[in-house]
Symmetry: C2
């Protein structure tokens, strides 16, 4: 972080956002006045006023942290966004593009010339470039690639070859290495030759001539030990190491469990190739929890809230189509019992209750199980215990809430038979919900699929159709 950049507290950041908005507004008012000829439309005045505002904005932007500029860009409608983007100094384009959300990044890249993009990309490290690469036009990427030196090309290729959710995709190549047979004095002198250590350097990696990791020397250790001590005598010999192919998920669990700031990353030949730092892990965690939230609501990706309507429609289309399918199926289940409903119309009013409560209860079960699986707490031998427990919970809820609804149905329609069917159907549907709620994530996990994915849709589909079928079926058998 350059020293000239401010770091802003949350409230200060909000105020800054307001200031920029106010400047943009003033600018727009001036332009519209000029446009409506209410001010002397003199090219010089226009240029001066505009220039003054632009200067003021540029000054603000220059002192802002790249992450804050990114935040600002995301919060502005497209026109204002591109105006501000134009005022950002070109040498900062790269780091800001890294910080903005995918949707906003797209809108910025669309507005840039190829040569601007090449210039922006060239400012980045190989690992950062790998993050940006998928969004760059291929001729720009080619251009950048040819400007890299051999080592950087190797790094870029390595970083791009790993899946998005692997350590290889999150790691960076900034690290300080030393040999084990030198003294701390030598290490201190070596460090003093740096202009700056890489961010998040909490430890120095100790490697041999072949880049094999011999241990790690934390700055903590370096600072408290006698300068005459040899590195090998104070380094930590078996630190946690990650491999490029490790899943980012398990790496982030390690960071959380052991409160790490950085870890060495090895390649297939067990050579030190880079490191993973806590900020990359935190970004990954936040992105993941966000994706889960969006997926839960059936959104493919984060939307730029200022994007055109058609983009939003596309983003939400798939989920609605799936739900339409399951809802239509449930509707046909009801259709099969139209004769019964015609004879006893109360069934139509009561059936959504049975289906709805089943869905809610099933979602509670599946959420618990998915969490427990994610934490690795569920072993195959625990399955029977879980079924017993969830079915037990459902039985209690079914008898209590189902009983209550049975009484209400009896009171409303004066038929104790209807009340009994209601209670029985609620209980059976809750048991079905519990069974499916445990089975779906367990089966998905068994087959190596993400148990969180789509479980909620599936369970709602089952409890809807199942609830209608059970309730209307029982009513047809015993009442009609």
């Amino acid at each position: 972080m350059a020293d000239s950049e401010e770091v802003l507290h949350h409230d200060a950041m909000q105020r800054r956002l307001q200031e920029v908005r106010a400047l943009l507004d003033r600018q727009k008012r001036v332009e519209s006045l000029l446009h409506r000829q209410e001010m002397p439309r003199h090219a010089l005045v226009e240029t001066l006023v505009t220039k003054q505002h632009h200067n003021e904005l540029t000054k603000r932007l220059d002192t802002m942290h790249p992450a804050d500029v990114a935040y600002l860009l995301e919060a502005l409608p497209l026109n204002d966004r591109l105006l501000v983007w134009d005022l950002v100094r070109a040498e900062r384009d790269g780091e800001i593009l890294l910080e903005v959300s995918d949707a906003v990044r797209e809108s910025l890249i669309d507005a840039m010339e190829p040569n601007e993009l090449v210039a922006a990309a060239e400012q980045l490290d190989a690992d950062e470039l790998a993050d940006l690469a998928p969004d760059l036009p291929s001729e720009v990427l080619q251009n950048v690639f040819s400007s890299l030196d051999v080592e950087e090309r190797e790094q870029l290729r390595a970083a791009m070859s790993y899946a998005e959710d692997s350590v290889g995709a999150l790691m960076d190549f900034d690290m300080v290495t030393v040999r084990e047979d030198v003294t701390l004095e030598v290490v201190l002198r070596y460090l003093r030759r740096f202009d700056e250590l890489p961010d998040h350097t909490d430890q120095i990696f100790v490697v041999d001539r072949n880049d094999k990791l011999r241990g790690v020397l934390s700055l903590n250790t370096l600072l408290i030990n006698d300068v005459d001590a040899e590195v090998s005598s104070v380094m930590r010999e078996h630190p946690l190491v990650l491999h490029m192919s490790d899943s980012a998920e398990s790496a982030s669990q390690a960071f959380e469990r052991y409160d790490l700031v950085s870890t060495p990353v090895l390649d297939q030949e067990e050579r030190l190739i880079g490191r993973l730092t806590v900020n990359a892990v935190m970004d990954f965690i936040l992105e993941q929890s966000e994706e889960e939230q969006l997926a839960q609501a059936g959104l493919r990706e984060e939307e730029d809230i200022f994007a055109p309507i058609i983009d939003s429609v596309k983003n939400r289309w798939a989920w609605l189509a799936i739900n339409l399918g399951t809802a239509f199926f449930a509707s046909r289940v009801i259709g099969a019992f139209e004769g019964s409903i015609e004879k006893l119309v109360a069934l139509a009013a009561l059936m959504p209750i049975v289906a709805g409560i089943g869905g809610n209860s099933g979602n509670q079960t599946i959420t618990m199980i998915v969490r427990a699986i994610a934490l690795g707490q569920i072993q195959p031998e625990a399955a029977r215990r879980l079924y017993r427990k969830e079915l037990g919970v459902s039985l209690i809820n079914g008898v209590v809430w189902g009983g209550l609804l049975g009484l209400l149905a009896w009171g409303l329609y004066g038929s104790w038979g209807l009340g009994l069917v209601m209670t029985a159907a609620m209980t059976l549907n809750l048991l079905l919900a519990a069974f499916v709620g445990v089975s779906v994530p367990m089966v998905m996990a068994r087959f190596g699929r993400d148990p969180a994915l789509g479980g909620s849709v599936l369970i709602t589909a089952v409890t809807d159709s199942g609830g209608f079928f059970i309730f209307l079926g029982l009513a047809t058998l015993f009442l009609v």
Copy 2:
């Protein structure tokens, strides 16, 4: 982290869990054999075999990181859990209690004697003690409190006086401070007198005689600059500072934006009182996303998957009751149209589709808006734009999907009127969903409530009852 403790990779951790489980199983088999008298029931043999297993287990546990022991305890059923807990060395009880989930912590504390609890609590720092305090019996807490020195008591009181989601509750008091008028040489000598620097020390705080923060000196700066430089000449003068009353939410956003490892925390009189570190922030973020996930499914808190059924029933009760209420209301809306359904029973089969798709679409909208509000991207003046956009998306979806369903209804029931009513009802309900999906979080945010809370329940209630009302109402007007 003590050097004798291993840090384990994800897979290694799973293997370790298996080993412990195997040991526990072997132990149980031996006990059951002894019990069934199939082995010579000799007190000495029993003791020896048990002892051997226990020793092996104890040895494993001793080398495990507290977080891993916690993980192990969470994954074991209650009996095994307490057996393992007994084998953990008493001086590690405190740090392990800090790591386990709330539900499991309760089960462990229940099994401990007051004097064991006091001993465990006394090993903790004031900030850690504050985390544990709410779960401790009050006589234990009293006992621990009286054993603290004045400074620690002050710290404990400060840490406990802040809300769970404030910086005060997450901070710690471990930090290194220096004066600004000394040279780096002096600082280095001072640090060398420490046995160990606090974890996550990436910077040293520079304070004056009154504990006012003058700046921060990063280890990075300390290591690369000339040892004769004075602290004041190389320190960063306006670092990001937090106050104890700041929200943990805004603090974690700052950590994410600026990739921080630690920040100074000031009290009301602007004196340096402690620091916030990235590991506390990461724990907070994970806990929060977990709570959101649980709340989404209507679970009050995380469940110990091995807890008795009744605990689970209590945890899920409230949500089911609310849903029962809204479902019952929707049922009464249908009840009001029973006459129409009796005449045209197809309505009963089609109405859940209208309600269901409305709920899904509304949840998509509310998820987008809540996210945008959380990121501070929505200003009051943007409201009109959002309504326009979401209503536009709904209109397109309504006409397209509603049109498709209208055709299906026409085909199934041979009534073009029914098809038209279906299309119109779908479109209107999707518009209602969009309107409510934007309004609910905006209004909640305006009144300073968490916009994420309960929005999903509310919108489903509206789109269910609203969907039934619109569809059956239109049908009654035009078809019956």
